[in-house]
Amino acid sequence: MTNGVSIRDLSLSFGSLSVIDTLNIDIQEGEFLVLLGPSGCGKSTLLNVIAGLLEATDGEVWISGRNVTWEEPKDRGIGMVFQSYALYPQMTVEKNLSFGLQVSGMAKPEISKRVARAAEVLQIEPLLKRRPGALSGGQRQRVAIGRALVRDVDVFLFDEPLSNLDAKLRAELRVEIKRLHQKLSNTMIYVTHDQIEAMTLADRIAIMKGGVLQQLDTPQTIYSRPANRFVAGFIGSPGMNFLNAELEAGADPAFKVGASRIPAAGYSFDGLGLVAGPVTFGVRPEHVAAGEQAEKLPFVTDVPIEVIEPMGADTLVWSRFEGQEFTFRIDSEHTYRVGDQVRIGFDPARASVFDASGNRL
């Protein structure tokens, strides 16, 4: 199996500012990889290096089994879709699509064939004679995708293509991009800082922070077994509850939070295994049950309700557990009031525990 894209020991710095630091990622052919990370972590920079728009300070970029580190953008077999669309304003949609092909000296009939095919796939045929100024945001984004599509590239690069659109349109285009990927099955690298987009689109997600890869795995693994505290806090909304705890070893290991003992028996330890000491115990609000469902779970306690936030589908409850802030989700059909004591429970098997330096235990 050849790799669609390989990033090998890639580093990039602007002067003394290091933006990407010895990054290694292998992306399989046909894979949909999402780069996720907070603003300024170097996602766009990485994409630009892959595209050949920025020179790497060190390391190699391989695309479809070729070392393209020194090649021009046009020779890399990539197409790129930008956040600001970057359509040529003075050209019609048709010209926008055909410009790259014209520049490469392709024959006219072949150009019109490709433009027609891309227009059909993206359903922009009625717009071909218009200029970008006369298009809506979603239509512009489709044209921008079309510009990459006509070039018949192996790898698609998307730099936050949907972040300028409103929520509804974003959801629609998200599905379209997913369909497009299923139809074309070429490699796609997609930058976003929207975790819903990341979770729904990705085969694998690469989470970056400060130019360093934090975790590269399937959305499900990243969600349920985050590699460190940063990833755990970054994924999921509302965020994971983090409780300061003490891990006690022995015959009956447990996480001690204040006076409460959460049994550690169900928790599957990674790597280092069970090492006694201070830890952070993380549990997602949606993995906490309240009321009767709580009774069956391995750990049960009572907490006071401080704030109730109805969110439509469910309700978020803010409370305090052993003096530490604790949120959990309940069904929106509930009868709780602020100040009530409520019985909650959760299963340590679904929790995430991090050591003092933030790595998963």
């Binding site: 021009e72 197409g79 600001s84 970057a86 304003p89 790259g100 520049v103 490469s104």
Partner: protein, 297 residues
């Protein structure tokens, strides 16, 4: 509080002439008068026969209108030894201006484009030097330029004067274009590179079509600047390429006997007409271009 308008506030707010408005309009009228009076005097004088001019009634309208002075200024007035009016100067000025504007604007556009998108090594230093060039008083470099042009044998030719105008126009035109191109989204340039377009293709097919307003500004600035130039034309034009301004000066200063004020006025108006017409025709374009550059830059 005055209760003059008890009606509910609804729809368009009625406009009121406040004292500040009266003051503003007053000021506008005064300054317009201030600038238009000389023009008025020039026009009426140029339409009077010489006898009437001598009466010295500067502001009175001409008793009988005659275009003799205009015809003389254009075709028979003496500019030194020759007596062919300022029409040869007009032709020279058109030649000099058209060629110089074309070359300098094109060079400035390419410079600005290269400086804002192709960040090659030393680009910033080059830009700094260019900007400094905009502040060097040209009187200081005239002599070295004369020597240089004499050495390469173009001193006094059309090529010589065009070269001088291009050199002195370059910094400001480059600056204008660089600022304009810097205001365009960089992703546009990146998209074009991914599409495989090279330096010239991006310039000609993507950037220049977007730079029409700023090009208009550059053309207008250069046209008026070069047309109104006197010193460079006098020094570098030689005998055969004297621009209209130089010939105008010759008409006004060489007078045998009587000073023909009406002819002088007509010649002056003819010389000033070109930039004026350009401003009138392209004023709106000009303001738009300036605004586009200013807001986004």
């Amino acid at each position: 509080m005055t209760q003059t308008n008890p009606a509910v506030a609804r729809g368009r707010k009625p406009k009121k002439m406040s004292p500040a408005r009266y003051g503003l309009y007053g000021l506008l009228v005064i300054s317009a008068t201030f600038f238009l009076t000389p023009l008025y005097v020039m026009i009426v004088t140029s339409l009077k026969p010489l006898e009437e001019v001598r009466l010295g009634r500067l502001f009175s309208l001409p008793a009988d209108i005659t275009f003799d002075a205009w015809i003389k200024a254009w075709s028979t007035a003496c500019t030194g030894v020759t007596c062919a009016g300022i029409s040869p100067g007009f032709v020279n000025s058109v030649q000099i201006t058209v060629v110089s504007v074309l070359i300098s604007v094109l060079l400035g556009a390419v410079n600005g484009y290269a400086l804002s998108f192709w960040r090659y090594r030393g680009a910033n230093v080059l830009f700094g030097i260019l900007v400094m060039g905009a502040f060097v008083p040209f009187q200081a470099v005239i002599y070295p330029l004369i020597v240089f042009q004499r050495e390469i044998g173009i001193f006094g030719s059309l090529a010589g004067i065009v070269m001088v105008h291009c050199i002195f126009g370059m910094p400001i035109i480059t600056l204008i274009f660089r600022n304009y191109f810097s205001s365009l989204p960089e992703e546009l340039f990146k998209a074009a590179r991914i599409d495989g377009a090279g330096f010239w293709q991006i310039f000609l097919r993507i950037m220049m079509p977007m730079a029409v307003p700023i090009t208009a500004v550059a053309v207008i600035l250069q046209t008026t600047g070069i047309w109104n130039d006197y010193l460079l034309g006098l020094v570098f034009g030689g005998r055969d390429n004297q621009p209209m301004t130089v010939q105008l000066n010759n008409i006004v200063t060489t007078s045998y006997g009587v000073r023909e004020y009406n002819v002088n006025m007509a010649a002056t108006i003819l010389t000033a007409a070109v930039p004026l017409v350009i401003y009138f025709l392209s004023g709106r374009f000009f303001v738009q271009g300036i605004a586009a550059g200013a807001v986004k830059g």
